[in-house]
Symmetry: C2
Subunit: 557 residues, 2 copies
């Protein structure tokens, strides 16, 4: 390795800071170039946005990669400040900067067959300037090299792990507690539960309740921990590392609690929040319909008010996770307000009885069938049919008809941040499985990790997991600061889902044929990881949100 | 779209030809640059090859992409010559050239987290020259654009399919016959068979036998069709399009027939080839062991000759496909010749009884257990245990002890070409499923295919399927011409497996949540596609073969 400015911790962080500034400048130019093609009178025009979807999404992905590098650099700077910027951590920064800058300039994967390059955004000249920046040039030449990857793989082999302390005693202790639970109670059995298509056992749910998992963000007055989204990320990440289902059980509690805390009447809050926080009330989210995936505004399930003020719900819902063993449905349905599209949607808090294996949906007016799926098991997916399903007049969230879509939209940020955290946990699990197999398995007389292509995969898995993680924490901090953060949440969800998938794919490849055997956990990780770019807003939806959001923000923001 | 040289069929092909020439020149320079780092005295040095694995493999991938473009151009030129170079076919060439050239210059995916770029091969200057080439510049600017992708998606939507005639009546008729069989008898039930983990039904095997599937490459004197590997590709592709298992049943027949035809004694040929060709003898390939995946030379199963000349086999084998319902095992085992490594391996033709559900391994000395897997079902995978399993002295292939590894090596080319053809079929099926879903499913008031990101995915799926297919046919033609073609076969296997995987991944994304439901065929395609980069020589092994092979070839070749 030549001596470069990147060889000292200080020089490395200074170079990274300078390269991020140059990359931000590139993004600002790309924003202008893309903006010109999609704006009329300074505002984005829907039809032009549609026509320029590739450039808008490509811009979103490029901006996401740059924000990822910015957060990676922030992480590194904090470690250096606390005098614990280890060799492995330095290599993570170095390789991450080198690789993502090269992708931004030469081809950034939006999916396996879609790459965005500067000309796609009419940003070739800005890209030339980025490439000519001295710090950027250093990272392109000396960042991601055979040598740095080999060194990082060596660090991984000798037990180093990327620093994950948040320099916050409560949060670090939370992580430690959840991790122990996940490692001792979930990990040893997750594969068997997955293969049996079993529900997460009740005693695991009880254990999670005891740890406060379901009330992380619920106020203390309702029995919750009253912590923020950053804490929720850590909990979700560590549980998902054991099993994505464990990290996902709380998603529905999170959404329901967010809906109720922000929009509920005082009676609704008192009725539901304590049970949700305690984990005795398990909610399920009843939004999607067979004809509407990402297009929620088009849904057609109806709620009709009867003479006595009660509501009757009729219609079909699908992809309802954990529908049978839950106690409370948050149902989005069309009410007859006469308003068009999403303005006629209302949110209901509909109590239901828990189902059993013999009788999954005991309530009158509600039936359902399971949808067998590749992964993401443990809660089961259902198609539900509502036939004059009756609930009380007090079940309309906040007593506000027609507010359901807006109420739901406000939960998207939190749900996406939480989903990004789940992806980070899955990505980390993939790294762990790939690494331990590469250390144990020998071929041609040496351990797999001693082959460059295996070491390369592991190094990049480790690097990208940290980038996705730091971007996720960044979005959680923005949320905790009370700022609108749909862009940050979208970026985190977008990148973390891709990293979980590519890490799972790489871990399977490291396992060879064994990665394809159901006996090996990594085969489940592949299946589990695949859902992350689909649900909670597909990758294309996130890119659209991020792209449009950035184009609409005033330049000064 | 600006007017460019690419707008006329003649200009397009001339530009493609020129760009391929420039790309070949780039590859020649990269070869020299990589060669310098791995050669000592003009020969590749094993230790230096190891150290430079990333650059050698990156070079292999780059050369593979260039050969893919060369074969795509050959295909287009043949169509133009026959006056049937349709608009869709022209767009395939145009987009394929644009995209792969951009990948070669800016980042070519070897896997989801490993990209090779010119500096990785010390070939930056050659890349600059490639980028400056006028034809290359045309394709980079006007090849893969939002407009050309939208146009190609429009062609797909209106029923156009990439031309697949081989201008050979026998081959085209073969394709048509097998396709009809696959469409009528296999496709409607493949998903149900997969979900039930069923064996391919006997009547399907009989139907395939009647079509001559198992004897495509077996000489007419043994009852085979006596056709070549190109015919075998078409058969495998069309069967795999219905179900990868159907396209894979013949792989074992192919390997056994190749082994016996090339190495068998006259008695062995007469005993086995007619049954293999007729499909009444189903062979299974018994090579891999628990400790040896890609590293066959290290295997430890032993065959010991008894006083009466018979052989007794003892040891463990794993990943034995279709082991139970087969009649003949081609077993690679170590014999006590005293020779080291692979020189002590011998190949045996070991008859066995077909197993049943109740008694999967009725022969004395042979037992086995099923390995449940993600996909690639229909034949089942087994771990086998040989305990003094006895066969006659006449079972040693060719009567030659210690020749097994070399005998097997000679079948690798054919098996890899056939595997590439399977991948091409899977890639095509993924395209078909993604396309039909994108045409049917509506969101936000329009069909999915009318969204740019969906159209983009479909366009690239169509383009890459053709590139992988033409590269596969190229390798088959080389084999049929009697040439050594390990490099060509490796390239075809390498690229086609990646394309099958990325196409499957994209098709799932197009399906959204439904892509994750076991009810939808595309969920199986994802699972089936994943094996293709693992078996028959993992992607890393193929890249090594291609890279080392090209570096060892004399420059004039």
């Amino acid at each position: 390795m030549d001596n470069t400015a990147l060889d000292t911790p200080r020089g490395l962080i200074e170079s990274a800071t300078a390269a991020v500034a140059a990359a931000r400048s590139y993004i600002a130019h790309a924003r202008m170039a893309v903006g010109e093609s999609v704006c009329t009178d300074g505002r984005t025009a829907p039809d032009r946005l549609e026509n320029a979807q590739r450039s808008v999404h490509g811009f979103a992905w490029s901006a996401t990669a740059v924000e990822g590098l910015a957060q990676l650099t922030e992480w590194a700077a904090r470690l250096a400040e606390h005098n614990r910027f280890s060799e492995g951590d330095r290599l993570v920064l170095r390789i991450g900067m080198g690789e993502y800058l090269a992708q931004i300039l030469g081809g950034l994967p939006m999916s396996q067959n879609e790459f965005v390059r500067p000309p796609d955004m009419n940003a070739s000249e800005a890209a030339d300037r980025l490439e000519a920046d001295e710090a950027v040039r250093q990272f392109l030449q000396h960042g991601n090299t055979p040598h740095t990857r080999a060194e990082l793989a060596r660090c991984l082999a000798t037990g180093w792990r990327a620093d994950e302390s948040l320099d916050d005693e409560t949060l670090d202790a939370s992580r430690e507690g959840i991790r122990r639970f996940s490692r001792e109670r979930i990990e040893p059995k997750a594969q068997a539960w997955h293969l049996a298509d079993a529900l997460i056992p009740d005693e695991i749910v009880a254990g999670m309740s005891a740890l406060g998992v379901f009330g992380v963000c619920v106020g203390a007055q309702y029995g919750g921990l009253g912590l923020g989204k950053l804490a929720m990320c850590i909990v979700s990440e560590e549980l998902s590392r054991g099993w994505i289902a464990a990290g996902s059980l709380g998603t529905r509690s999170e959404i329901a609690a967010d809906l109720i805390a922000a929009n509920g009447t005082p009676e609704q809050r008192l009725r539901w929040l304590p049970g949700i926080a305690a984990g005795t009330v398990l909610p399920t989210a009843v939004f999607t319909e067979p004809g509407s995936g990402s297009d929620l505004a088009s849904l057609s399930t109806r709620a009709r008010q009867t003479g006595d003020g009660r509501w009757r719900i009729t219609g079909s819902k699908t992809w309802i996770t954990h529908a049978s063993r839950s106690d409370l449905m948050t149902v989005l349905a069309r009410t007859d307000s006469g308003a068009p599209g999403s303005d006629a949607l209302s949110m209901f808090l509909a109590p239901k009885m828990r189902g059993t294996a013999d009788n999954p949906f005991p309530d009158p007016g509600l039936s359902g069938g399971e949808i067998p799926v590749l992964g993401y098991r443990g809660m089961r997916e259902y198609a539900l049919s509502f036939d004059e399903f009756e609930i009380g007049g007090e079940c309309l969230l906040g007593g506000s008809e027609g507010a359901g879509f807006r109420q739901l939209m406000k939960t998207f940020e939190g749900a996406r941040i939480q989903t990004a955290a789940r992806a980070v946990g899955v990505a980390r699990k993939a790294l762990e499985l790939g690494l331990s197999y590469a250390l144990e398995r020998r071929q041609f007389g040496k351990a797999l990790i001693d082959f460059a292509r295996i070491a390369d995969k592991l190094a990049l898995m480790a690097v990208e997991q940290v980038i996705a993680r730091e971007l996720t924490y960044f979005s959680a901090r923005a949320k905790d600061a009370g700022a609108r953060c749909d862009i940050e949440a979208g970026m985190a969800k977008l990148l973390a889902a891709r990293v979980a998938w590519s890490n799972a794919d790489a871990a399977v490849q490291i396992h060879g044929g064994n990665g394809y055997a159901l006996e090996y956990e990594v085969s489940r990780i592949l299946c589990d990881a695949r859902i992350l770019s689909i649900f909670e807003g597909a990758a294309e939806i996130q890119a659209n949100i991020v792209g449009r959001g950035l184009l609409s923000r005033l330049p000064s923001q």
